[in-house]
């Protein structure tokens, strides 16, 4: 286990190193200069600004400096907000994004499990049909369309929730719903398929023959075994939420990193874009690592031994 963990962490670091390198050189490839009014500036002024941002050094030195900074969590200074270090800008914004992302994930997966399990238990009835319809709709409706509709109907028309503000829990309800729809649909579909499989297996027959109650069979045998593979889709769901958050945070004016990413893209704030790319990759890598380890712990059949099968 320790060996496996060490190997995985090594790969995580390698991946992040490659991500940093590739984004750094991609950003160097970008056309144009970071100066908005180059024509109006004198040579010495330009030189001064370049020196301030460390742009006067050769590219390889800039790269090494950036790499050294990134290890310490220092991603340079934002172009857009000239006095703010990127790390400061982002650290104040990561909280709301994490909160909404986690809420959406938890809500989506839990409700998804319930809906999926109900569908499998009442296979080929109206309950099952509803499950299928909910999951296919959830996958097909883009989160930003859902976000606007929720904002308008639940926020503006009915006035149940604030429309676009950031504050306490009540402000997170609509974004969470908008972001949670896809994880909900995906996990409902996944759980249903898994559970239909599990319900037709021999040990379920045995459990029934033993005289276990229906709920006992479902809870102790069927549900547990169908939930284990659900861990494998947590990674893709995390990607989905990160992607969705960029638009949803914009729609609900949430001061999160998704909103910042879009803003930075629109204002060519390269250091912030780079910092965010690294943060997104880091989060995803960690999620993937955790789910892999969890999977090994939960399912003894694939216990990680470090040996390849």
């Amino acid at each position: 286990m320790a060996k496996y963990l060490a190997k995985r962490i090594f790969y995580l670091i390698l991946t992040l190193f490659i991500v940093i390198t590739v984004t750094f050189f991609l950003m160097k490839l970008l056309p144009g200069t970071p100066l908005t009014n180059q024509a109006k500036l004198s040579k010495s002024q330009i030189a001064l600004i370049y020196q301030q941002y460390g742009l006067d050094k050769p590219v390889w030195q800039q790269y090494l400096l950036y790499l050294a900074g990134a290890v310490k969590g220092n991603f340079g200074t934002s172009f857009q907000f000239s006095d703010q270090p990127v790390s400061y800008l982002l650290s104040s914004r990561i909280g709301p994004s994490l909160q909404i992302g986690l809420q959406a994930m938890i809500l989506g997966v839990i409700v998804g499990i319930i809906i999926g399990a109900l569908g499998a238990m009442r296979q080929n009835t109206w309950v099952d049909t509803t499950t299928t319809v909910v999951s296919i709709l959830g996958i097909s409706i883009p989160s930003f369309v859902l976000a606007v509709l929720l904002q308008y109907y639940l926020g503006l028309k009915l006035g149940w929730f604030p429309i676009a503000e950031w504050g306490g829990f009540i402000y997170t309800v609509l974004p969470t719903l908008a972001l949670g729809a896809t994880p909900l649909a995906e996990s409902a579909r996944f759980v249903r398929t898994e559970m239909v499989d599990v319900l037709s297996s021999d040990y379920i027959e045995l459990a029934k023959a033993k005289g276990l109650s229906r709920m006992g069979v479902i809870y102790h045998h069927a549900l547990r075994n169908s939930l284990i593979p659900l861990i494998t889709i947590v990674g893709p769901l995390a990607v989905n939420i990160m992607t969705g958050s960029m638009v949803v945070e914009n729609i609900f004016s949430i001061p999160g990193i998704g909103e910042q990413f879009v803003k930075s893209v629109l204002t060519n704030d390269y250091p912030t874009i780079m910092g965010l790319t690294i943060i997104y990759s880091f989060m995803l890598c960690v999620v993937l690592l955790i789910t892999d380890i969890l999977y090994g712990i939960v399912d003894p059949r694939i216990r990680i031994t470090g040996k390849a099968n």
């Binding site: 790969y11 390698l14 991946t15 490659i18 991500v19 984004t23 991609l26 490839l29 970008l30 056309p31 296919i136 709709l137 996958i139 097909s140 409706i141 883009p142 930003f144 369309v145 606007v148 509709l149 308008y152 503006l156 990607v239 990160m242 992607t243 960029m246 638009v247 914009n250 990413f261 879009v262 893209v265 629109l266 060519n268 874009i273 965010l276 790319t277 997104y280 990759s281 995803l284 890598c285 993937l288």
Partner: protein, 341 residues
């Protein structure tokens, strides 16, 4: 016990060829089907998938047909007819009859604009452009982006997966590591970075989506290739001295086709989704070009007062996504012989 069963004499006559032909139990009632025919038959049985296929067909024909027969020019600006709600001739339901609620009263917007004789099925946008034509135009752009991106995805993804799976060993390990690295950056982030470098526009969106979406295809194809290459017929082909390339085309690809087709059905909607998201954020297609994403973005600005401007593109986008997803599900079931009927 001692009873003997009396059987009539003629039970022991050998049957003639004619008799045998007349025996029902020997007949094969159904014509024998190839794998494709069988899959097609199963797909037709799946109502959702079948309807989706028809709807997609109609959307394709309308979107590409609008190149030649468009009700209006999608880019023709006509400020005096701006923001007219949708009006379908012969339908007198509020919302589809050209009326609007203004200051608490329902008024005929077409009369106000002096265009009583005209009708715009989906209404007009803030510049007076026919929304129906623009939706058709936007759908076409979205579909083109998705299809071209999928084409790249097919070529890059299938080749990568085939190569990795076929070679195996160290090459496979390295190629899988590369995929893992790509997978550890959210797709949209990569796409945005690529678009920044390539300058926003249709070509860069296609390239960006194509460069990121092949990964899934490559993984699936690799997994299948690993399985298929152990089969006897591949061994036989190798023994007979077939070249690797020929084996790939003659033996591997045909057996991979169902996986490839199914995955394509899920790549297309995700490409459409990415394009819509990018255009919605504002770094995708730029005006006067339109895609479903830009139309949604435009419509959303006026959603409170002119909800139809967002409803129509949203509806079409959702229908396309839904149809592709249902068709993909149907194809997956159709190609899987284990599916219960």
């Amino acid at each position: 016990m001692a009873d003997t069963v009396k059987l009539p004499e003629d039970s022991f006559k050998p049957i003639t060829a004619d008799d045998r032909a007349a025996l029902d139990s020997e007949k094969i009632a159904a014509p024998s089907l190839t794998f494709t025919q069988d899959a097609w038959r199963r797909l037709k049985k799946n109502r959702g998938a079948w309807i989706s296929l028809i709807i997609l067909g109609i959307i394709f024909i309308m979107a590409f047909g609008s190149l030649f027969f468009s009700p209006h020019n999608p880019n023709a600006v006509n400020p005096s007819y701006a923001n007219l709600p949708s009006k379908i001739p012969g339908v007198n339901i509020n919302g589809f009859n050209g009326t609007l609620v203004q200051a608490g009263e329902r008024v005929d917007a077409y009369k106000q604009a002096g265009a009583s004789s005209l009708h715009y099925i989906m209404g007009t946008d803030y510049l007076g452009r026919d929304l129906f034509s623009r939706v058709l135009y936007g759908t076409r752009i979205s579909l083109i982006i998705a299809l071209v991106a999928t084409l790249f995805d097919l070529t890059i993804g299938v080749t990568y997966g085939l190569f990795s799976g076929w070679k195996g060993g160290r090459v496979d390990t390295i190629m899988q590591r590369i995929i893992e690295i790509i997978l550890s950056i959210p797709n949209l982030v990569v796409i945005v970075l690529l678009i920044l470098i390539l300058k926003p526009g249709m070509t860069s969106i296609i390239i960006a989506i194509a460069l990121t979406s092949w990964v899934n295809m490559a993984r699936l194809v690799r997994a299948q290739t690993l399985e298929i290459k152990e089969q006897e017929y591949v061994l036989a082909a190798r023994t007979l001295g077939e070249s690797s390339l020929k084996i790939a085309f003659k033996h591997l690809l045909p057996n991979l086709s169902s996986v490839i087709i199914i995955n394509t059905m899920f790549t297309i909607p995700s490409a459409i989704f990415f394009e819509a998201t990018l255009s919605y954020i504002g770094i995708g297609i730029s005006s006067p070009q339109a895609s479903l994403g830009t139309l949604l973005n435009d419509g959303q600005k006026n959603f409170q007062f002119l909800p139809y401007q967002m409803w129509w593109p949203a509806l079409i986008l959702c229908i396309i996504m839904l149809a592709f997803n249902l068709l993909g599900d149907g194809l997956r079931d159709a190609f899987d012989p284990r599916t219960k009927e």
